[in-house]
Symmetry: C2
């Protein structure tokens, strides 16, 4: 497997991206990595690179504050575009970027295209609860139709089966404001009907925010606006809670001793809820495995994401495509 | 101040509702409480009630699984309706219910009506972070227009000034998928424009899920679908994190000793993030102070909510109304 890495994308690029890639390359000697970026910037960082790391020249990155479509049009040699073209030409089997998410999604749509039958892509991320839960979409498609949510349910179901290795068909829930089928706005009600009618999906009905990670569903489907808000809230609340616990323990001498004694276990909790350990988010619905890292990824986050890609394995997109093309669907209407 | 309490609403009604009301009545001897419910059910629970607690007879509750509008039409003596009528007639100054939220909202709209200029109401809740943050709407209006979000920004701003006692004008943020003004779906973009143009609002622009409680905004505005998902996610994640910490500590003898030593401080953390301590959620935009308790409220949650109502004080609705009626607004279009 050969992974194209956008070396220039992310708040901590290129240093942390390159460092994480080098670590992953050492950990996975059977995989190959292509760092895509300006040679003058990336080259000097590769002096001690292992042999399974290569450099592919490109122009600069799409910055976080740029409008993705405009940036990609005006700079066809942007690093994420060059990486996506490696994927399209078969020179790479997967793409990783921690840069401007909109630009990664746009580059994937532009250079790879959509899976047939899938009007819009979704970003799927694993919430690191005791019961890991795949949440999608967390931000690729902020304005969804009910048909999109049905597609997300199918994409998420196929992906979770492989990635979370669920026993049997992954149980899929629809994020809503209540459990009853009639709850929510038009989009949620219509999506509930479509997903319930689909024989391919092990649908458990509506789930609520508090059910995430409860084990009620392996996959939770929602629109990209709600999913993004939910994901970022979960990250923020987890961080805040652990900060409160730390302050509580460190606020007294007894507490400090206690915290010291329990340190390895408390660090394990911190690690469990740390987004850097999620392993990146998968862009589902495009014709190629595209993985999106947190904008503020450090080397550890990049390394974990790259290991996650290898774990997900090749061929996933073709599986997704096969499942989607076997069914009736509203194709590319208005797209 | 006289508060009408729906004694039959909630998973733990009537026992916990009545017990919480009695505790609040003892704690606040200057306030009066009217328990609304079936006399045969509530009467026996009031044997040791203090003198500032009265009973108002009604029919049964609107159950959690009932369709609110239908239930209210078919049973005009439902407990929440009787309580709302007490508020309309001036026999009560505020209403509390932990029952079916949709029914409480519907009863308030039916019996109290909306504040002029406010097409739809919002439920506002305080997220108990280190920097308390008022989030609205968390579920009254799942399908919003941009104008509704502008109204929520104004309602939330006036309410937070009084309830959170912010210094200066409360800073209002719009929940979105990114900080830049052009981010999000049509609703978010249009609401951003309207709120930014309003001279009454100290607008800090878009905020993200992870900014909740960071101090970036005192008030965060969103539609009722997203807000509900965010609130319930925050509650679920907080509970999960504390469970992980507890398991981490109790997993070893050293940890158990540590946990014991730090117990008072850890319990304080648990209490801080416990929804039972939020003090209920305020329904803003209707002509009367209506407070919604968690469906699974215990006596402690009810007590805290009732104390919160007294703290918010009377006259709030008239303040909100005065502010809204001073401005140009799209009035009741299509309502």
């Amino acid at each position: 497997m050969r992974i194209a890495v956008d070396a220039l994308g992310g708040d901590n690029a290129p240093q942390e991206i390159v460092a994480g890639t080098l670590s992953a390359a050492r950990r996975l000697p059977g995989a190959n990595f292509v760092l895509v970026g300006e040679p003058g910037v990336i080259g000097p960082l590769l002096e001690r690179a292992p042999r399974n790391v290569a450099l592919q020249a490109s122009g600069g990155a799409v910055r976080m504050d740029e409008e993705p479509a405009t940036a990609l049009r005006s700079r066809p040699d942007a690093s994420v575009s060059v990486a996506a073209r490696l994927l399209r030409s078969g020179e790479a089997d997967a793409l990783f970027s921690a840069g401007n998410t909109g630009a990664t999604v746009a580059a994937a749509l532009l250079h790879l295209g959509r899976i047939e039958g899938c009007r819009r892509p979704a970003i799927a991320t694993v919430l690191p609860f005791s019961h890991p839960t795949l949440l999608l979409d967390v931000g690729a498609t902020v304005a969804c139709r009910a048909q999109d949510l049905l597609n997300f349910a199918i994409l998420g179901s196929v992906f979770a089966k492989r990635y979370l290795e669920t026993e049997g068909a992954p149980r899929v829930g629809l994020l809503n404001v209540g459990e009853e089928p009639g709850k929510g706005h038009d989009l949620a009600r219509e999506a509930h009907r479509l997903i319930a009618e689909s024989p391919q999906i092990a649908f458990v009905g509506n789930v609520e925010g508090r059910d995430l990670g409860s084990g009620k569903a392996d996959v939770v489907v929602t629109d990209g606006f709600t999913g993004n808000a939910v994901l970022k809230t979960a990250e923020g609340v987890a961080r805040e809670c652990l900060r409160l616990v730390r302050d509580a323990l460190y606020g007294s001498l007894v507490g400090r001793v206690a915290a010291l004694a329990a340190r390895p276990r408390l660090l394990a909790v911190r690690d469990q809820v740390d987004p850097e350990n999620y392993g990146g988010s998968f862009l589902l619905g495009v014709r190629g495995p595209v993985v999106i890292g947190h904008g503020n990824s450090t080397a550890r986050g990049v390394e974990n994401a790259l290991v996650g890609i290898v774990r997900a394995g090749g061929g996933l997109v073709y599986e997704l495509e096969a499942v989607l093309s076997r069914r009736q669907t509203v194709r590319e209407e208005g797209a």
